[in-house]
């Protein structure tokens, strides 16, 4: 699809010969805010276990306590500290999100690059795979696969990867195809560069910023999908805390003890907002603004 391609000419055209070079783009305020939010979430998830308690520790003396100084986010029906559980839930959510985004990006990237470099049946096959993937909403596949194969870490990640590699693939392929046909690549070929040289010198570096953007989008869609799966009871299983699953289990008490479902829900939102803002910022910085982001938007 044409939308998913970025032509380098676009970027270049921005700088007309006699006009001053374009001002250096930044990821913008939004991008920095996103990065900061993510940093907070990630740091809490990493450092949380050192400072806070046990997410499984029950305290039948303090059941369903509203937020207070002792329990900032209150306690749940087992007297467990919701804050601690949100922090630990973040570990699960982030680990799954990151691993699946990394795998999805790697898979999408390699298929796209192979397709762009070799063309022919390699490209056609990868394109068909992507079409197959697009024929069924990933959540449906996820539900089927997880409830039959079981829902441990690996199947969950596999399902999320299945749902998101196509994005990276399409974005990168569109771009890589344009780059492979670009005159500067032809110039390199005239100078004697082979496929590997072209990939190393021109293709991979040019694809990296796009990859970063696709990665943040993948991560945020994986996060949302992961929490939806958790909510549907198909994600990480209790007692291991997980945001989506915490929302689901706290939902029955939402009228009497809203904090149980609210805080994990907000955690998902904050993380997703962070990823979105960072993604937007990166797109603005590297890819030429929302015009490309729209093609990437998930």
């Amino acid at each position: 699809m044409t939308l998913l391609q970025t032509d380098d000419a676009d970027a270049v055209r921005a700088a007309e010969p006699d006009r001053p070079a374009r001002p250096r783009r930044t990821i913008g305020i939004g991008g920095w805010v996103g990065a900061a939010l993510l940093a907070v979430v990630v740091l809490t998830a990493l450092a949380g276990p050192l400072t806070s308690g046990d997410p499984l520790a029950q305290d039948f003396e303090a059941i369903l306590r509203p937020p207070s100084a002792a329990h900032l986010f209150g306690t749940d029906e087992l007297g467990r500290d919701v804050l601690v559980r949100v922090v630990f839930g973040g570990r699960t959510a982030l680990a799954i999100t990151l691993v699946s985004a990394v795998v999805a990006s790697a898979l999408g990237l390699s298929l796209a690059l192979l397709g762009a470099l070799y063309g022919g049946w390699v490209d056609a096959l990868a394109g068909r795979l992507a079409d197959v993937q697009l024929a069924v909403p990933s959540i449906v596949l996820a539900i089927v696969v997880l409830s039959f194969v079981g829902n441990s870490f690996v199947p969950i990640v596999a399902v999320l990867v299945l749902g998101s590699w196509v994005l990276t693939f399409r974005v990168i392929r569109g771009h890589a195809r344009a780059v492979v046909r670009a005159q500067y690549v032809e110039a390199a070929r005239v100078a004697g560069a082979g496929r590997f040289g072209v990939a190393r010198r021109h293709l991979v570096p040019s694809v990296l910023p796009l990859l970063a953007v696709a990665f943040t989008i993948n991560a945020s869609s994986a996060l949302l999908l992961e929490s939806s799966l958790g909510y549907l009871g198909l994600g990480v299983q209790p007692p291991q805390p997980d945001w989506g699953q915490m929302v689901a289990s706290g939902q029955a008490q939402i009228f009497t003890a809203p904090w149980i479902a609210l805080f994990p829900g907000l955690a998902v939102v904050v993380t997703a907002v962070g990823l979105q803002l960072l993604g937007d910022g990166l797109a603005e910085r590297f890819v030429g603004g929302p015009a490309v982001k729209r093609g990437l938007a998930q």
Binding site: Q58, F60, E77, G150, N151, P238, P239, I254, F255, T256
Partner: protein
């Protein structure tokens, strides 16, 4: 929002907590869904009262001529909702279908174990021939519903119904609910509501929200903790009581090299479990711990000689040490997602308690089908424990009460030859006295050998509109005919 005065409309609105799995009278069904609807549309020979006693229904009387022969007298006034009479031949036909090994209806499977044939003696008398004695035969027949043969042969019973019960099925959406209206030909007392709507509310959150929005008149199976919010309601009463089936941790004693093969370990874990704390905090004090056996008052006759394992961590440690596990054990329990009330919280509490005697209990959870599959699977791949609720359906139901704890049960991973022998003999007993004696021996054996972690009876919960008159049935079957209006 809370309405001001108790309001019940013309349509009785009943909430179900599981999707309907069809309304086939020959396939059985969960009380929380299909079973309640089927029981409102069809009749069987006997029925189970709120106290779990066996009561007449289509059959008015029964006698056993000898241990292997029974006679049932049936009503002749019963009529299907299309106006056709329900005859003795119809009953015979239904049993013949169920006894046919190629018949799809699964309700016949247990029958085929002990029932040889059903024949018509005259228009109001049926003769049952058994292959092994069954003192509790009338009770066992409560779930064999009678369909109209002609209709059954020409229609899909999973989706359509023609019965002789108080209601007839108007519409059915297996995912979302069913509507019922009065069976104009019903022979018994006329129920108070002409229209009934069953709505599937599969998640606890949906049930709570529907109640708070005043959209339902009666919903069972809420988490005891969630009842509190309706306790002071103007529109609803809450029900918190004892259910008819026990909750236990079923044990896998047959995994190769399992420490659970040693009765001392099993006993130790029973000692290490603080049932009272769990009941007090999670179950809102609705129940008392099982009396060291899977049968309990008031629904069954427990063996008075057996009582609950007290919470005694020291004793537990000592037993574990004797069994050579002084330095601890790691075991797993498998839960089925969202199946039993409070199961997550309770198993986590148990895990915390066991941790104090050095046993690490790893909790795993799987969707119901996978969980079931694991139980049906080979011993070595099964989990060490399953948090499970199962038990008899009526007073004195030996098969139902003890079957799941026998070694030969299809879901069991036990190794309990003595218990098996005793319960077999109890099933085949020919006098009540003999049966009671054998049951007590079996109970004693299961307790001593600790063939289960005895927890507590399932709590029975419900939220009922103040405008309704309803006698709670602890077996959770929510028959429409059992619900009436408060008479002003």
């Amino acid at each position: 929002g809370g309405g001001e005065t108790p309001q019940v409309g013309d349509v009785l609105r009943l909430g179900l907590s599981r999707q309907i799995t069809g309304v086939n009278p020959h396939k059985g069904g969960s009380p929380d869904s299909s079973g309640s609807i089927v029981g409102s549309i069809y009749e069987s020979l006997t029925q189970i009262g709120p106290d779990l006693t066996v009561q007449p229904s289509l059959a008015t009387a029964w006698t056993s001529t000898d241990p292997l022969h029974w006679r049932f007298t049936i009503r002749t006034d019963s009529t299907f909702s299309d106006g056709s009479p329900l005859t003795a031949d119809d009953v015979v036909w239904n049993f013949q279908q169920l006894l046919d090994p190629d018949y799809k209806g699964t309700a016949g499977a247990p029958l085929r174990r002990y029932l040889t044939s059903v024949t018509k003696v005259d228009d109001s008398t049926l003769s049952f021939t058994l292959s092994q004695p069954a003192l509790d035969l009338p009770g066992r027949l409560w779930s064999i519903y009678i369909a109209q043969p002609a209709f059954a042969q020409s229609h899909n019973l999973d989706n359509e119904a023609l019965g002789s019960g108080p209601y007839k099925l108007d519409t059915l959406d297996q995912e979302n609910g069913a509507t019922l209206s009065l069976n104009p030909h019903y022979a018994g007392p006329k129920p108070q509501f002409a229209q009934v709507r069953y709505t599937v509310l599969a998640s606890e959150a949906q049930r709570v929200a529907a109640l708070r929005a005043g959209e339902q008149d009666l919903i069972l199976n809420l988490d005891p903790l969630d009842l509190a919010q309706f306790r002071d309601s103007d529109t609803y009463d809450t029900v918190l009581g004892v259910g008819n089936q026990p909750l236990t941790l079923a044990i896998n004693e047959r995994r190769t090299g399992t420490p659970l093969a040693d009765p001392r370990v099993r006993q130790a874990l029973n000692y290490a479990t603080d049932k009272d704390t769990i009941i007090k905090s999670l179950l809102q004090g609705a129940v008392t711990p099982l009396p060291g056996q899977v049968i309990y008052d008031p629904f069954q006759q427990p063996d008075p000689a057996v009582s609950a394992y007290p919470y005694d961590p020291e004793k537990a440690k000592q037993l574990l040490a004797e069994a050579g596990h002084a330095d601890g054990l790691t075991l797993t329990v498998l839960l089925s997602s969202g199946t039993y009330v409070s199961q997550d919280a309770a198993t986590q509490a148990i895990a915390a308690q066991w941790a104090k005697v050095g046993v690490t209990l790893k909790i795993e959870q799987q969707p119901f089908p996978a969980w079931l599959q694991s139980q049906y699977g080979p011993d070595d791949q099964a989990a060490d424990f399953y948090y499970i609720m199962w038990g008899g359906a009526f007073r004195g139901d030996v098969t139902g009460n003890f079957g799941p704890f026998r070694s030969d049960h299809i879901q069991s991973h036990l190794d309990a030859p003595e218990f098996d022998a005793l319960t077999t003999r109890a099933q085949n007993a020919t006098t009540e006295a003999e049966k009671t004696d054998l049951v007590n021996q079996a109970v004693q054996n299961a307790h001593d050998e600790a063939h289960a972690i005895f927890l507590y009876p399932s709590p029975f919960t419900g939220v009922v509109s103040k405008g309704l008159q309803w006698t709670p049935k602890p077996n959770r079957y929510l028959y429409a005919q059992g619900v009436g209006r408060v008479q002003p």
